[in-house]
């Protein structure tokens, strides 16, 4: 029983690529709706009522994106009204709403992705691909707080030695430039020392290990296989199941057959998978607590 964020990072990454890949690859309206709903639901389940401001921002962005298309494009046969001698058509408006749903949905997915995939998990995922790049990334992450601490020390020393006054703007800027310069020289020298120390301790002679261990458990494999097979069903249905929808010149779509409906259901399930996992976990917790 683990919540969605505790699954193996590689599995989570594959899951996110499946969901957002279809959302970006296809423009079939039911998929867009499912992706938007799933993305928003996951974000809400994870964060509750926090971040009201960003929801408002996304709503605003949605409206702007939806309105941009009918103002720019005048294809379509159903004219709603005429603005500045340009027809605003129903088809262009619906197309704009569809595009906006796609973009906002993917933005929500990636917000959750950024929250879930912390830099440590990313290092694990990158480390399997290229250990050297993972090393560069992890060292860079570690250098940022190190540099800010060292810059404080350099500044204290410089002010204690009376080398600049911070009530004089020109002197202040010059002093800050000097601190920055000292910091960069120190950083580079320190980096070389770190590198020599690493080499002396045998860096690069063996396999790189992680501080935190991410193992493949049984439910990791289940989640991986589930998301890949749902992706497969959806893709197959997109190509063979008659899931076509065209906006221009007039809205035209085929009624999906059995196979097409399976595809839509598969994508809906895929988009709701993390929410289902989270809900299941919270229900189990509540049940276990109620028995104490």
């Amino acid at each position: 029983m683990r919540s969605f964020q505790d699954y193996n990072p590689a599995v989570i990454a594959v899951y996110f690529f499946c969901v957002t890949g279809i959302a970006m690859f296809s423009s079939y309206p039911p998929f867009m709706a499912a992706s938007l709903f799933g993305g928003v639901a996951l974000y809400l389940v994870r964060n509750g009522r926090k971040h009201a401001k960003s929801h408002f921002f996304f709503l605003l962005l949605f409206l702007i994106l939806a309105a941009a298309n009918p103002l720019m494009s005048h294809n379509g046969v159903t004219v709603l009204f005429i603005m500045n001698d340009n027809p605003i058509t129903l088809e262009a408006l619906l197309y704009g709403i569809n595009s906006a749903a796609m973009i906002i949905g993917v933005l929500y997915w990636f917000r959750s992705f950024t929250q879930i995939m912390t830099s440590e998990k990313l290092l694990y995922a990158a480390g399997t691909l290229s250990p050297k790049l993972a090393l560069i990334l992890s060292m860079a992450i570690r250098f940022v707080p190190l540099f800010s601490r060292q810059s404080k020390r350099v500044q204290d020393t410089q002010t204690a030695m009376g080398l600049f006054r911070d009530d004089n703007i020109v002197d202040d800027i010059r002093g800050r430039m000097r601190i920055f310069s000292i910091l960069v020289t120190w950083g580079l020298e320190n980096g070389i020392i770190t590198a020599d120390s690493m080499a002396a301790r045998g860096y690069g002679t063996g396999k790189r290990s992680q501080m935190k261990r991410f193992r493949f458990r049984r439910d990791d494999i289940v989640l991986l296989l589930t998301s890949l097979s749902l992706l497969g069903i959806t893709t197959a249905a997109t190509f063979a199941g008659g899931l076509t929808f065209s906006f221009y010149p007039a809205i035209k779509y085929e009624t999906p057959g059995i196979f097409g409906i399976c595809g839509i259901a598969a994508y809906c399930l895929l988009a709701l998978l993390p929410v289902i996992i989270e809900t299941e976990v919270s229900i189990k917790w509540r049940y276990l607590r109620s028995r104490i």
């Binding site: 933005l107 990636f110 950024t114 290229s130 990334l137 060292m139 800010s148």
Partner: protein, 228 residues
């Protein structure tokens, strides 16, 4: 993966992949698929290019010292992205490329884009930002000789890189929003991005003026002292 022994062949492949294979993929992809698929093709190309570079980098016996210097510069870029309005990222990438070569420039640009997006938001655009910044670094490394000698040329490169970055990212904005590429949408996107474009170009030139010489001296010194 295959290790290619012949140096000539290796260099040939290195030149062919970015300049022939990837454009060919783009053209073939746009002919094979209709409409909406551009975005996936361009995303695939960006990821492919980054993977190719990562694989090439992995095989090389790059010294630990060099890698640590690259991560120091990445950390500085990353910290610099928090400065409001003026971003020294591109300038630092270019300076690194001038003194440590195009590969180091590519790495600093791409890695700092990846890293800083943990704070500024990851998204499908990450791959494009990585590629755009990486290419700015790579080309600065390729033209490092004239750029190091001629200061005016260096500043011009900075300004062009800033504008080009905005132009490249707007192609991606349009591809994402609409089916296929539309010029009117592209110009509208460029128009709304003018303040950003100007700020990129100005901050590149400003930080190159401020940082090119002192950073150059420091990197040169490290190179001589430790033989990186």
């Amino acid at each position: 993966m295959l290790v290619i022994k012949s140096r000539g062949l290796r260099n040939g492949i290195k030149a062919a992949v970015p300049f022939i294979v990837i454009p060919a993929l783009a053209v073939l992809g746009s002919m094979a698929f209709a409409r909406k698929r551009h975005i996936i093709i361009s995303l695939a190309i960006a990821v492919f290019a980054l993977l190719l570079f990562a694989a090439g980098f992995e095989k090389k016996t790059t010294g630990t010292r060099r890698m640590v210097i690259v991560s120091v510069m990445t950390a500085l870029c990353f910290a610099g992205r928090f400065i409001p309005f003026l971003k020294p990222m591109t300038a630092l990438t270019i300076i690194t490329a001038l003194y440590l070569g195009g590969e180091a420039g590519f790495l600093v640009g791409a890695m700092s884009a990846l890293l800083s997006n943990f704070y500024f938001g990851q998204g499908p655009w990450t791959a494009f930002q990585m590629l755009a910044w990486g290419m700015i670094g790579l080309f600065a490394g390729i033209f490092s000789e004239p750029l190091r000698k001629n200061r005016v040329l260096l500043l011009a490169y900075g300004a062009v890189a800033g504008v080009a970055y905005s132009f490249i990212m707007d192609i991606w904005t349009v591809l994402w929003y609409a089916e296929g590429f539309k010029w009117d949408l592209y110009f509208a996107a460029l128009g709304t991005a003018i303040p950003y474009t100007v700020s990129y170009a100005v901050s590149n030139v400003l930080f190159l003026v401020l940082l090119a010489r002192p950073f150059g001296e420091k990197l040169e010194r490290i190179k001589i002292k430790y033989g990186v």
